[in-house]
Assembly symmetry: C2
Homo-oligomer: 397 residues x 2
């Protein structure tokens, strides 16, 4: 077999290994508490399912425009313009089969081989994979614990910018840390972007998953809308992760290129689902609100128990459905200094299945604290209680 | 704006321009007969729509495995093994969001920059676009009129093979010509593939759209299954073009790479649609059979009228839903020797909207005949009659 050389540079999501191990553990008759994957165990709102069924029966089953149906592009433009304070029109939107396709298409559209790209680490592992796969140089920046949440390691960003740095990936309301930029951080980033003529992928997958306050888009800062491509997804807000619908939103000239990539890669996104998500955006919002209430209860339950465990420390983030507790003390108490060993011990002794920091990138130089990531999107409150109490028993024994 | 250099090498489907012109002509109050796009005006079978609805309500709305749900991969493996006479298992299958994604992923997985790739021209324009976009050298081969259908220009293939030739694209049951390889052609191709150590993308989008006889897959020839990746699509057989579901089928080692590309590009294909197409493959086949009957009637109506027009000559192909009549005489009669001028004259004078040979690649050296392409998948028999009679009147006036 003669596989192309570029495949050597292709990364993956190692979290799928955790899923496989959890499944294997469950098959042996063990109870598993699934905190490892960012999927949702919440059913899609009924009005969206009904709208999809109606659209299928209405014959919305043929091809549709490469960039999406005008109705959805217009509706989404209005919705995002309102939430972001930026004037987008349908020309700024190319619908995608999920949030993820925007990542690869952003790099294909804007990155030349050899370009340097700043990206978050710990972070969603597909950034680094796609940067390196398409010939870029991936420069990681990290996060540090602040008083109430993680803070961007601004110094790491500033230090690494060179004339070869062309792009920045910003995942505000971040996976896995749930970090949220302060206005001061956003303003300093905007200054850097302007000064160094950067373009930005704003991964806003969790923009609408928040429990108090209001999300602020980096694209809303002066001069940034023309430098940002937003990764938008319907997945979390409407519990449609497996439906696969999202969008790339940004300057028309870039969106036109991304739509041309659509022509080449998948023709178009599913036709009737686009109609269903017009209903999602414009119909009754009580079910999406209920989803947020459910998630908030889960967050509080999880944070309270985690913070009661000796050697574990978790923030209570206002957005996303992830917790990234510091477990340095707990690992020390158990005499474990290897991430995978710790993860497997937790699974075997308590049934709690988690990802570790290493599922979100290689550890950075000088990193001395240990973290695990818990997603509470796919597990009910009672199970969170039961599982994390077992975890507490194990870690404190 | 700073668009990446590689975008200069990205092609597109120029047929969308024809759609836009037809739509603009219709908006002015003119009747349009849409023969230009390979979409279907046939509604998806009811049992598939019901299965999709059921799966949504059953909560098949979350993520699913990157390569597809095991149930669909197993069902499809059994189905394709039976129709192809090749023993595929689910490990040979990576589900895709449509047929098209297999094209780009095949080249990403197997083509290094500078590799030469033989591809059909006239042919689906995305082959050339993806070859050149990812740094390959695209070498076109054409088709010649035989006694009953188009024949592969085998001489062009043989003449162009060099030690740098690594891949071959074969679209048997071809778009736009509807050419179908003879066994002798398939055997000679297999010899060339073996002798020159080639790998093959078999675009089998129209494998199941045939009116008599039986489709033969190139992968069924001795030694070919391990060198072929099949582009499979549910789109045409089940009238689900806009649902976006297909598959890459081939040797496990290549499929594993393609599944890793799935992780990076779109995570997975829609979850509940995969359940719906298990029903498509295993449920009642009377509606898919009816689709073929409908298409056959359309074919015969279109071929009969086309062949009654002075200066027009069409084969009656046993597969696909395309006709590629030779219109050299008709163009001469009208004093037109420019493709776009001819196409626009037809539209304006008869309302018949078609693609020309140039929507399927640049004309090859020495090409002296003129061809247009008519798709009869999106237009009813009565409209075919009405439209092509108007075309006859115009071309013979």
């Amino acid at each position: 077999m003669r596989i192309a050389d570029r495949i050597k540079r292709l990364g993956t999501e190692t979290a799928f290994v955790v899923s496989a191990e959890a499944a294997a553990f469950a098959v042996k008759g063990n109870k598993v508490y699934p905190f490892h994957l960012g999927d949702m165990n919440i059913i899609t709102p009924g009005n969206i399912i009904e709208a999809a069924t109606r659209a299928m029966k209405d014959g919305k089953t043929g091809y549709c425009p490469n960039a999406g149906i005008p109705g959805l592009r217009e509706t989404l433009a209005a919705d995002v313009s309102a939430s972001h304070g930026v004037a987008y029109t349908m020309e700024n939107i190319a619908i995608q089969p999920g949030g993820k396709p925007t990542i690869g298409k952003f790099f294909l559209a804007l990155m030349n081989p050899g370009d340097e790209v700043l990206y978050p680490n710990p972070g969603y592992p597909i950034y680094e994979s796609q940067i390196e796969f398409h010939g870029g140089t991936a420069l990681p920046y990290g996060y540090n614990e602040g008083p109430e949440n993680f803070l961007l390691d601004m110094e790491a960003i500033e230090r690494q910018i060179t004339p070869r740095t062309k792009l920045l990936v910003l995942n505000d309301l971040q996976n896995p840390t749930s970090a949220e930029c302060t206005m001061a951080e956003l303003e300093r980033l905007a200054e850097l972007v302007r000064d160094h003529d950067l373009y930005v992928l704003c991964d806003e997958a969790y923009f609408d998953i928040r429990y108090s306050g209001k999300s602020v888009s980096f694209a809303s800062l002066p001069g940034m809308a023309e430098r940002c491509v937003l990764l938008y997804t319907f997945s979390k807000k409407f519990a449609v992760t497996g439906w696969r619908l999202g969008a790339a939103i940004g300057p028309k000239e870039i969106i036109d290129v991304i739509a041309k990539l659509n022509v080449n890669d998948e023709s178009c996104s599913n036709h009737f689902i686009q109609h269903a998500l017009i209903e999602g955006l414009t119909g009754d919002q009580s079910e999406p609100r209920k989803i947020l209430e459910t998630l908030k209860k889960r967050r509080d339950t999880a944070v309270d128990i985690l913070n009661s465990i000796e050697g574990v420390r978790s923030f209570r983030p206002e957005a996303t459905f992830y917790l990234f507790p510091n477990v340095t003390g707990a690992m020390k108490n158990k005499g474990i200094n290897d991430y995978d060993q710790f993860r497997r011990a937790i699974l075997e002794k308590s049934g709690v299945s988690v990802c570790t920091r290493l599922h979100f990138g290689r550890a950075l130089e000088g990193e001395t604290n240990y973290y695990i990531r818990l997603a509470y999107s796919g597990i009910d409150t009672t199970e969170i209680e039961e599982g994390l109490h077992k975890l507490k028993v194990f870690l404190e024994s």
